[in-house]
């Protein structure tokens, strides 16, 4: 086959391969458009989008942690009430007069400890993750009830803590109605994305790898720029960039870096692909497993903090079903059910898909019972589409 002359069919194939990688973004766009129409234009408003992002924050960070767990072929069913409990713990600490920063650090450390203990039970004792984390889910549900029992809901009395999930980065200047700091942030991220994509492409060229056609590349860039541009303008029209966005972006950046650029990331993917082979290649798979659960604990703690902050109080039922939303986010985002494949950035988009559904259905006034039904159907459809487009064989 000649290297330079590609047939139309091959172009088609490249297009399909590339489209598949962006399937989720397309799904998100479709959801947005449908809700925009159904809600008579009230879905894609600055206010609602800001709201949606702030709503997604806690699930997004937990989906990031869950991605690692699912990649190494484990599962964590405990993060729901672990997050709920840690959120309540934060509220209690604040109530007891502990300052915000120490409170956050203590709660995050508690999250890591909880994850570590689970990791040790799974990795060293050998109790399967499903059972260990299910047991922890029960346990922390109990603990949550215990610490909220006396008082019922614990209100948050710290403004700073409340701002985490409800506040915005300070305003520098205004252009008309638009927030200046938001526009600057948007412009910087656009520039960063274009710059890094072009650099990546140049390197691919230099090493003479198969690359997407120029036209498609430009389309992809335009798509990203348009997406961020729209988002920036929309957000700037309300109150700009929330602290939640900042936190989620930092989490994505750190985790993406670890997963793609460090030894630990390689080991996680390798262990997910074939644990035995990874071990015989010099990977300490127990340490990776324990570390992944510790990271999950950290993200559960962060999720708990964001959720409690969002609500402005800790409630006895906080955390119910979070683990399922986090897991669903990952699977919608193409994390493989057999391990070894997945991306943290995609899982965050997966979380957005799920929260957009909740948000949009609420907006158009669909009852909670139907919401679950619709979510279930869309979950199946999304994963089915992903599986089929990868050309996987169905059973039998």
């Amino acid at each position: 086959m000649s290297e330079n002359k590609k047939t139309g069919r091959e172009y088609g194939k490249t297009l399909v391969t590339n489209l598949r990688n962006y399937l989720m973004y397309i799904a998100l766009a479709v959801i947005f458009i449908v809700f925009q129409i159904l809600s008579n234009g009230s879905f894609l408003t600055a206010r609602n989008i800001t709201n949606l992002i702030n709503q997604t924050g806690y699930i997004a960070v937990m989906a990031v942690g869950m991605t690692l767990i699912l990649i190494i072929r484990q599962i964590d069913l405990s993060v729901g009430f672990v997050a709920g409990f840690l959120g309540a713990a934060a509220a209690r600490l604040l109530k007891a007069g502990v300052a915000v920063l120490p409170t956050i650090l203590i709660v995050l450390a508690m999250g890591v400890m909880i994850g570590l203990v689970q990791g040790l039970i799974i990795g060293k004792v050998g109790v399967p993750a499903f059972i260990t984390t299910l047991a922890f889910e029960f346990g922390f549900r109990g603990l949550l009830t215990l610490i909220t029992e006396a008082t019922g809901t614990i209100p948050i009395q710290s403004d700073v803590f409340y701002e985490l999930s409800n506040g915005f980065i300070p305003e520098l200047f205004k252009i008309g109605d638009l927030s200046g700091s938001c526009l600057i942030a948007g412009a910087i991220s656009m520039a960063l994305i274009v710059f890094s994509e072009i650099r990546k492409r140049k390197e691919l060229k230099r090493y003479k790898f198969e690359d997407m056609p120029v036209l498609l590349f430009i389309l992809k860039l335009l798509f990203f720029v348009a997406l961020i541009g729209t988002l920036t303008v929309v957000l700037a029209g309300y109150r700009g960039i929330s602290w939640t966005i900042v936190i989620v972006v930092i989490v994505i950046a750190i985790y993406s870096f670890v997963m793609n650029k460090t030894k630990v990331g390689r080991y996680i993917y390798g262990m997910g692909g074939n644990p035995e082979a990874a071990q015989l290649s010099g990977v300490d798979i127990k340490r990776i497993l324990i570390g992944s659960f510790a990271s999950m604990g950290l993200m559960a703690a962060l999720g708990g903090i964001l959720y409690t902050s969002r609500l402005g109080s800790a409630t006895p039922t906080a955390g119910m079903g979070f683990e399922l939303d986090a897991i669903a986010s990952c699977y919608i985002a193409g994390v493989s059910t057999s391990g070894g494949v997945g991306s943290v950035a995609n899982s965050v988009i997966g979380a957005f898909v799920i929260m957009s559904l909740t948000n949009g259905l609420n907006l158009i006034g669909v009852g909670i019972s139907y919401q679950y039904l619709i979510k279930g159907i869309i979950f199946i459809l999304a994963v089915a589409l992903d599986v089929r487009s990868r050309g996987k064989k169905a059973l039998g």
């Binding site: 990331g265 390689r266 390798g270 692909g273 074939n274 082979a277 010099g282 990977v283 070894g340």
Partner: protein, 512 residues
Amino acid sequence: MNDYILEMHGISKSFPGVKALIDVNFSVKRGEIHCLVGENGAGKTTLMKVLSGIHPYGSYEGDIVLNGQIMKFNTIRESENTGIAIINQELALIPDLTVAENIFFGHEIMKRGLVDWNETYKQADIYLKKVGLNINPRSLMRDHRVGTQQLVEIAKALSKNAKLMILDEPTSSLNEEDSANLLRLLKELQKQGVTIIMISHRLKEVVSIAETITILRDGATVYTMRADEEEITENKIIKYMVGREMDNIYPHRESCVTDEVLFEVKDWCAYNAKSGQTVLKNINLKVHKGEIIGMAGLMGAGRTELALSIFGNTPEYKITTGELYLEGNRVRFSSPKDAIKKGVAYATEDRKKNGLILIQDIKFNTSFANLDRIRNRGVINRNEEVVQANKLKESINIKAPSVQQILRNLSGGNQQKVVLAKWIFATPKLMILDEPTRGIDVGAKFEIYTLMNEMVKQGMSIIMISSELLEVIGMSDRIYVMHEGKITGELSKSEATEQKIMHFATNTEELS
């Protein structure tokens, strides 16, 4: 009626982008043992899948004529009903069911709509006797050795009243003793009127057993030879397989052995942590710098256990006594990670199970055991990785469009080369290769041998565990033979013969 039980006429079969079979003609006489040989990817397995209905009618061109009638199989069951039974390379047995349940799996003996267990166990016993097995049909499949499992597969085929039995590489995972046993059984079945088609890479057994041999190359029939018409030799078969005379299967190597002892094992004893069984007894061995050591022995002799216990896989094997010396210094490897860091590599015998990460690409696997080589201040340099992986890919001739090729899509031989690439990339001083050429074709074997020669030339030392006696003799500078966890013999290259090795391996006195 002619005396052919099966004729396949003009069979062609394509997969996306590949023509797997091109106008293949294949005829099998009633009651013969017919061997199908060819390099990996020559189309043997595909041809048998067409025959057994795994590739249904309509997905191929050409005719299958069984007993004079054209067959149109849509499923395996349809072909089974006509008396065809296929036994795949990877056994289709369920470890947690009993032997009898496995034998009748899919065609259970029923009585009034329920499984008739008494009859099942009675019948199972009869079929087990037929294949020469004296095991309890109520025992669990997982408690039996691979050799036994293979025979159970044959019993299963017999229970389906198979007239034409297809065996795909039946001996590839068996030791020499079990292989011989299996071949004897095939001869026995032949006497009882069963026609047998056997795919095999082991030319020696092909020569010993086949009445007819059909050789496939690149999806086409190149030659059919019959024992009653001409003399069949391994060299002749190889000539047709590769299209050239391969006068030397083992590439020549000037001895690279030095006097310097690189690695030494002293009084090494170990037991299996799970079963408590002693697996290694007082192992003493030395490896010189630049030397290829052959570790011969039957399956279960403890060679893999020795490698794993040395390599630091301590959770599985507990070491009771023993010392290791690397370059004169006493060492102990606490984990594979530790062993790799100190310069010992171990390429496993089963590359798919625990050697490679098949869902990842060539470069990922190549760099995986030594990521430090492509790290810069803790950050992986992906470009460097690609460059390095490409270099290795070129130098050891991995056939793939790029280093971004996912391993699952490579042939066995190329996968094996990636295993070697990975360990070469880790720059070990001592490389332990466990069955480095299992299940790969003659051409790829030659390349792996050449690569091994290259490695010792550069000062590496190799311990090669192999169950192929000729390979051990052909490649080793020195040979240790193991039997039941002990080293029973040591042979230099010049004194090694198959007979001598077999005597040590079975721990019997040599008959003169």
